[in-house]
Subunit: 481 residues, 2 copies
């Protein structure tokens, strides 16, 4: 084997191990009997330890040193460049710490599920404390002298973005959004709409089928917190959840579809390489938010959704459904927040996780700090931790630095959508008929196919011709207000 | 860490990797979208290659050499003894061959599923030929000068049993069974009983719940071929299948329950060691056959099953149900065969796979040889390969040498059941009330808790006070005839 072949074989192996880890995670959240958790934690620990060992081998450094002198055809140049980046970062983390992180995250999720069900933050606090301490230990392995541990955690999700840039973007949003929220609460108020679960399930299945979800290469399941898993380009698994009291599933299934489509449209030539994945969490979230905010929440696509609900035995007008999907009202739960207050939920989490990691906030003080933040940013009192700091799985799974990508996703989605409508023309007539083919193709060409070739900023610049901006999202927000 | 701790940590890691492999297999057969197959084959290949590497390391030999001189407390003595056996066998198999086997078996299963659905043996032949050749290559790695490759394959499933012993036992059966079949066909003829799938599902769920299957640590799913997976003592997954035309699910779910209970009742002190699993396929099959033949097919337990069918909206008398469950008639399909003709199906497969591995039968001649064998042993014409040599998954998954355990399981189950009734008294009154606690306890104590501490023969001798015999099964067969 040539040196290049050796490197590519190792990258393929790491991609296979990553898929197995995703399978074990998916199974734990969707299929596993609850008492399987301790065993699963051991299994994930073993997998993480082995994957880490294979990712940090000295031989990779030798291969890279040899290949970096060569003139390589694409995608091999990018494979070598990203292998260097990943190898340098991974080898700073001891194998035992990697395994401990994996075990703690599996156990943290179990603890969180029980604590959330019984609204008992104290029962979750030890697991969260362990996760915070481990995240700090992990970040310290990566941090250069003087850099902030939080910024290193961010780099795992969005390479090249910094805490200061987030402060700037989120600062602009925090100033400009509240007046738009105040207007929208009046003009486009929140409405209740209770749709029976069975009708939602039928409508979701039919809508997803219209846009390409078929059983030969997709699964759609239910989980406590919707998420998407890709175990290869042709094994995509999205989850959603259903409640009789709302229509959240219509939005969350389109949201998860956006994540799924991204991974499915990466250039097949990059499959089982270290370049063949979505490039960052914020670009990933821009894909989910594009389908959630700009497709599912459009007046035109509401006609499709209303039609499917009608066919499922729940007749409703498109205008009424649309008004429900875009109604604005500050609420307690992030995942069911309206599109305007949503980024304010993220700004809260960004502030709190930054403080947790920097040691400025103790875990036991989190519920109180959460309450203060919700009061300040959204004007709400938090009646219980289940509706407060226990609502999200992320910290239970050790994901600190992940939340900002949700707000960045809103911004980038709006910026991409403006570019799509500039280049392809208004999507209104197409969406009314449920035609999304041209959108899928545009995204494949401008965003998806690149995989990790371009990081967040260069990708946004390449796709839209501009840097990261808040204005397109504010214009979208203004259109709702 | 002490040397013993190092060895035990490695054994725990191998147990974790084995659980992940079982998860990936289970998912492929129960959950995975069909187009995920090529990706899954890569993932299983990577896992097998890594597990093999960790199982054959030189360091294990050094640890063992050191520990074999020490006086170790149990279970450490058995851990060292079995680690030596497994290490010696595993290191003879090159890592690349192990990975190739894993890939071929995943792809073989996919090919088989398609071929079986379209009754197209030719479409499956290339995958089967590859599996036969790889099995031969694999066996040749293990074979001492002059030993038969088939015997080495057998050793993977039933260490210490030989081809000659199988010929003797199966020879006795092949002589003694046909007269009993002829009698039973008259006295206890096959009856058709069509129970709607929904009633079967309800009755199966209720029956399993009565004997300890609860959702906290079990899953019950549907698959093309019923099987059982254990991902830890508290994550047990059994599958069954339902058809409107029969009541097979009542038997197959109890059959799979027997496998599951075995693994769940291994001594917890052996968990995540190399001793903490069922000791052999024939003992495993004795556990499933004990629940299938001696519990589910007893006149007493038929009262429980009939009661559950009645509660599920399908009223039926216990005597009629029992007569259906034990009716004897030569048929084409192994898994739905009556308890008397069942071993004849196995003898056919034993003969054919022995001939395939020894090179005396070419893959393309398999359908004809199958037809000849069915004519000779069961007096039946085989109308299609889907009802013939495509009916079982085993060869598609590369499992040669596995089938004999099914017939051995029938023999050992009968031998254990006679011992249970001798020691505990007739089970009739208990089974009538669905009380299986004393049986579960007896099995835990005499069979399950030992894990791999005892191989097949010493385990049977310890549990029953006698060697492997055909007479108890023939007495059971006589009771039906």
């Amino acid at each position: 084997m040539t040196t290049l072949e050796k490197l590519r074989e190792r990258m393929a192996e790491l991609a296979d191990l990553a898929a197995l880890e995703m399978l074990a995670d998916w199974d734990q959240l969707v299929m596993m009997p609850s008492e399987g958790a301790p065993g699963r934690a051991h299994q994930l620990g073993a997998l993480a330890r082995l994957a880490h060992e294979r990712a940090v081998g000295e031989e990779i450094g030798e291969w890279l040193a040899e290949l970096e002198g060569e003139d390589l055809e694409e995608p091999n140049g990018d494979i070598v460049r990203l292998a260097r980046r990943d190898w340098e970062r991974a080898r700073r983390v001891p194998a035992e710490l990697a395994a401990e992180l994996s075990r703690a995250h599996a156990e943290g999720q179990e603890s969180w599920q029980r604590a959330r069900a019984s609204d008992d933050f104290a029962a979750f606090a030890p697991a969260l404390r362990r996760n915070v301490e481990l995240a700090r230990t992990y970040a310290q392995c990566l941090t250069e002298e003087g850099a902030s541990p939080y910024e290193e955690l961010l780099n795992d999700y969005d390479f090249g973005l910094g805490t200061d840039e987030l402060r700037r973007l989120f600062g602009e949003l925090a100033v400009a959004l509240p007046p738009l929220v105040a207007e929208a609460r009046v003009r486009s108020p929140r409405r209740e709409l209770a749709v029976p679960v069975a009708a939602q399930q039928t409508a979701v299945a039919a809508t997803l089928r219209r846009i390409g979800v078929e059983p030969g290469s997709w699964r759609v399941d239910v989980s406590a917190h919707p998420f998407t898993t890709w175990l290869g380009r042709r094994d995509t698994r999205l989850t959603t959840r259903y409640s009789d009291g709302d229509v959240e599933s219509l939005l969350s299934s389109l949201h998860e579809y956006g994540h799924a489509l991204y991974e499915r449209q990466v250039d097949p030539a990059l499959e089982r390489t270290n370049v063949g994945f979505g490039t960052s969490m914020s670009i990933h979230e821009s894909q989910s938010k594009l389908w959630e905010n700009h497709v599912a929440r459009s007046p035109a696509f509401a006609e499709v959704l209303a039609g499917e609900l009608g066919a499922a035995g729940f007749p409703i007008g498109a205008a009424e459904l649309h008004a429900t999907l875009v109604g604005v009202e500050p609420t307690l739960i992030r995942v069911s927040a309206d599109p305007l207050t949503y980024p304010l939920h993220i700004i809260l989490r960004f502030e709190l996780e930054l403080a947790l990691i920097d040691g400025e906030l103790a875990v036991e003080d989190l519920p109180a700090a959460w309450g203060d933040g919700m009061r300040r940013l959204l004007g709400l009192e938090v009646p219980s931790d289940a509706l407060g700091c226990l609502q999200d799985i992320h910290w239970a799974a050790g994901s600190f630095g992940y939340f900002p990508s949700y707000a960045l996703g809103c911004l980038i989605a709006a910026q991409l959508w403006e570019t799509i409508e500039t280049e392809l023309g208004s999507r209104e007539e197409h969406l009314r008929r449920g035609e999304v083919g041209p959108i899928q193709l545009w995204l494949a060409e401008r965003v998806h196919r690149h995989g990790r070739r371009l990081d967040t900023r260069p990708l946004v610049e390449q796709a839209t011709g501009r840097g990261l901006e808040v204005e397109p999202f504010l214009r979208y927000a203004g259109s709702l207000a």
